[in-house]
Point group: C2
Chain length 339, copies 2
Amino acid sequence: MEKTLIIPAADDFHVHLRQGDLLKNVVPLVISGGAARVMVMPNTTPPVYTSLDAADYKSELQKSAPQTEFLMTMYLKSTLTETEIKAAKNNGVLALKLYPKGVTTNSEEGVSGFEDLYPVFENMQEYGLVLSIHGELPYDTGQNICVMNAEEKFLPYLTKLHKDFPSLKIVLEHVSSKAAVDFIKNSGPEVAATITPHHLELTVDDWARNFHNYCKPVAKYPEDREALRQVVIEGNSKFFLGSDSAPHLKSKKDIAKPAAGIFTTPLLMVYLADTFDRLGCLDKLKDFSSTFGRTFYDLPENKKTIKLIKEEQVVPDEYNGIVPFRAGEILSFRIEVDV
Amino acid sequence: MEKTLIIPAADDFHVHLRQGDLLKNVVPLVISGGAARVMVMPNTTPPVYTSLDAADYKSELQKSAPQTEFLMTMYLKSTLTETEIKAAKNNGVLALKLYPKGVTTNSEEGVSGFEDLYPVFENMQEYGLVLSIHGELPYDTGQNICVMNAEEKFLPYLTKLHKDFPSLKIVLEHVSSKAAVDFIKNSGPEVAATITPHHLELTVDDWARNFHNYCKPVAKYPEDREALRQVVIEGNSKFFLGSDSAPHLKSKKDIAKPAAGIFTTPLLMVYLADTFDRLGCLDKLKDFSSTFGRTFYDLPENKKTIKLIKEEQVVPDEYNGIVPFRAGEILSFRIEVDV
């Protein structure tokens, strides 16, 4: 029984595309994986701090993949002025990315720590820039904060932020816990989340026994994975694709202290078709990968289409020295991309 | 300010000493690490199933370290007869080790699964053999059982077992969670637990970022580590040393799918002196490493003594191809052993 799905090419609202040679090897794989439009994270070296940085980076990316559309982000700093934020908006930057490294518990208020960023949030709200958040508290053994609960323990901070800036659009990136899923469901329409293909597949056991499955935030309990699966099965529009695909050379992974990150770009939509089909919700894939996200970001539908054909393939051991997700395993689909 | 501690050599109630060349390389390190008497786990290949197997294994171990005393265990199987259990006792076997692979949830009773072992437990209780348990349920995503909670979820089974065999001595090996610590504290005097040096030091973050710290049961939340630290700080006699030292060649560890296990044998008492001193309870080390365990097992005090001198040393990168715990780090003690 052949199953074929023809849908618009995907929007991937969270990718790491690196720089230099790694960039040149990775960027052409975006379209092969079935994504026509990707939102590029700004944590390069040095980071993307200004709209000029973003423009330069975009132009470098475009050279390696003229057919791909790159949506740009900037690294959120407390020193960003209204002028800079306005310039970012005018230059097509869609989101500012926040890594909440400095967040601390304020004993008087219970939850605090973002106050120095409030002027930036005000301006983002005014000019319509989206706040993209890596939602984990810094690990702190004294406060019992570790890789397993850093996301859940971040949620009270996010609650306050959302309450103080109700019109600010917020995306909680790569949600990995039932607690975060419940938070998103219960928050207003301005708050959404991205889900990665790997968090739909992995639990802590999978990265404990194979460190190629190690990423941040880490995959958690089976019931956390189940919560993620349930929102894609029910087609909840507050959850959309952001792969967090993170290419690291094999030499940085096959060591005792590996880099965190999973590489899904080259087979992105094949992984998802395999997963959604197994979960019995292949009919929900289109909205997850090409409707909910662009609607949240006010973007038009991609004109390119992809064809997903139910036919087995083995995941290659590597792509230019980078081991992909589920290397050596069998996926139940192959993809044809209208380039 | 020099600190010197002269105490009896340690009893280590849980070690893996392997076979063949690995055995020959590891066993002589037992005494260098400050242990004079060690309880040897039976999960060799093939396992130690009979008292004859145990006698053969003991004699092989003794050849590599004539000065070390080896306490023998056998692998617990449901087919063990009364005759075999009596023979084990008469041949000096102290404990039978249970790996609860077949345990399942019985929907009628809520907790079940050990019934086929009850005749064995009866005989062990009668002949005074200790039940040594690896207390984790098999991982099962459908029931939300994973490396992080497999120990806690095993406790109801242990509760029933203890209730049904109140005179059977039970040791819950390598406890790693606050839940297990609380269980041991609240159970009768026949139930005790071993604690490893590494579970006093590590949390999940430590094995997430360095897979040489990966072991089973995995190190868990900071609050779990804190619960373990508290019972050694307070000198609770139900908790004693069982290192679970597990030598694996570097080639089995520095790969994406590493063997689980941490090697502490060669510096066992140095790690513990370092940890106890840092926790401000160096005065509790002697009871933890040489009183509580032998009292539980009804054994005399070791005649050998060790001297722990407060003087820094760097942990070697490897011992015969095996990377030890905290390799390259500085420990605040060195050891002199009266061999």
